[in-house]
Amino acid sequence: MYSQKVMECFMNPQNVGEIENADGVGTVGNPKCGDIMKIYLQIEDNIIRDAKFKTFGCGAAIATSAMLTQMIKGKSIEEAMKVTNKAVADALDGLPPVKMHCSCLAEEALKAALWNYAERNGITIEGLTPPANHHEEDHAAAAEEN
């Protein structure tokens, strides 16, 4: 069900961990949906010098966290703001439809971390809105069980 790329990222995820004294931290998701993502950013001169994550979630959630943190490292905040969930999914050679929400979550975690950074530093980032917990929505997909 997962692309080889997803499996690679999942098996050997880059950037797992915490950043002590991070400049921005964002946590999104909720246990009900089974995904919680926390992203740590180290930002210097408007550039994301380092990014790390911790994720409670499925294979796709872990792989997207790893991929996203990889993609934003070295980017400016403005460039990082342009990393969409679709870009993350594409970099992973796609995600199963039912797992696309994981890529949304990754994008949201990044935005939440950036928001946290902006708040701490009293700046505004163009296009950034306060984080909402989209995962309160109802997941209508039906369950298959065996």
């Binding site: 797992v16 994720t55 872990i62 997909a141 065996n146």
Partner: protein, 390 residues
Amino acid sequence: MIYLDHAATTPVKPEVLEAMLPYFTEHYGNPSSVYKIAQRNKKAIDDARAVVAGHLGAQPNEIFFTSGGTEADNWAIKGIAAALKEKGNHVITTNIEHHAVLHPCQYLEKQGYEVTYLEVNADGLVSAEQVEAAIRPETILITIMYANNEIGTIMPIAEIGAVAKKHGITFHTDAVQAVGQLPIDVRAQNIDLLSLSGHKFYGPKGTGALYIRRGLKLPPLLHGGGQERSRRAGTENVPGIVGLATALDLAYQDLEAKNAKLKALRDYLIDGIEARIPYCRLNGHREARLPNNVNVSFEFIEGESLLLLLDMEGIAASSGSACTSGSLDPSHVLLALGLPYEQAHGSIRFTLGENNTREEMDVVLAKLPPFVEKLRSMSPLYEDFVRQNS
């Protein structure tokens, strides 16, 4: 591969396939036809019916073949509701039934029926007393699963049957996980309707049966030709029916010895996990439990990611959460036990089969701890927990 998902499905045994094969290409006649080659098939079906009946303590004419457990459940529940709608509109079930029971019940609710979903206790059990207390004058059906597919808990079916009988209420049990693994006696247990599914006991997928107590009125779910004495229309799946009966016969051979072996393996696995991995809990009742079921919540991690790691090592298990298969909702069964969401998402089901070995358990027990460790090291929940406890 180490296959530990026998509750999801089982391979067809070679002997079962052997028994089925002639009915695909050679004895292919339509059992309803008059000519000789077809009559042989009719006899094959009759023989299969007798076999199934024998293992349930039923009569052959009380067995009706279906396309699986789901059809049997739908038929029983919707059928009784339709047949008895003048008598009442209340159904009693539990909150841990399989969706093949829950969804028909929800469908009935939309049609104006009322359904009581009895709450199981922390072990996943309902009691006959709970059932009795829920009975109303307008109760027409009690439908309670024999054994749960996720946590393996075995319900007190005979006691519930006695209550149903005392109150004159029809009693259906979804025995899909029990048949082939537990001895069943529909008479002694006062069961009026019982669903089973072939692929859970080394028979073919797409086969099942509904036991309907003689004299019970149950309108058809599938209307059409006069097959199955006009109660279930459709050209009979002859190879499938033969396969189901052959598999059931094999399943009940040496049942005690097989179950003793399974229980020993099961307990070895449970004990091994508990000894090696902190912060985990066994879900379901410790004793009133299917001989092949192990269901464990590993705190702070999510089930699918653990499944993937196991899969990479050739170990096939299943997530207690239905998340893996398209839904994001955690298992309703685990939530019903009172588990918090994150634990419900962090559960794994290992269901053993006749061919699993102690060596395989050792492999699992060797792989599991580092995997759990790895995922915990990535988990923000574990991070929080460690912080709070240090």
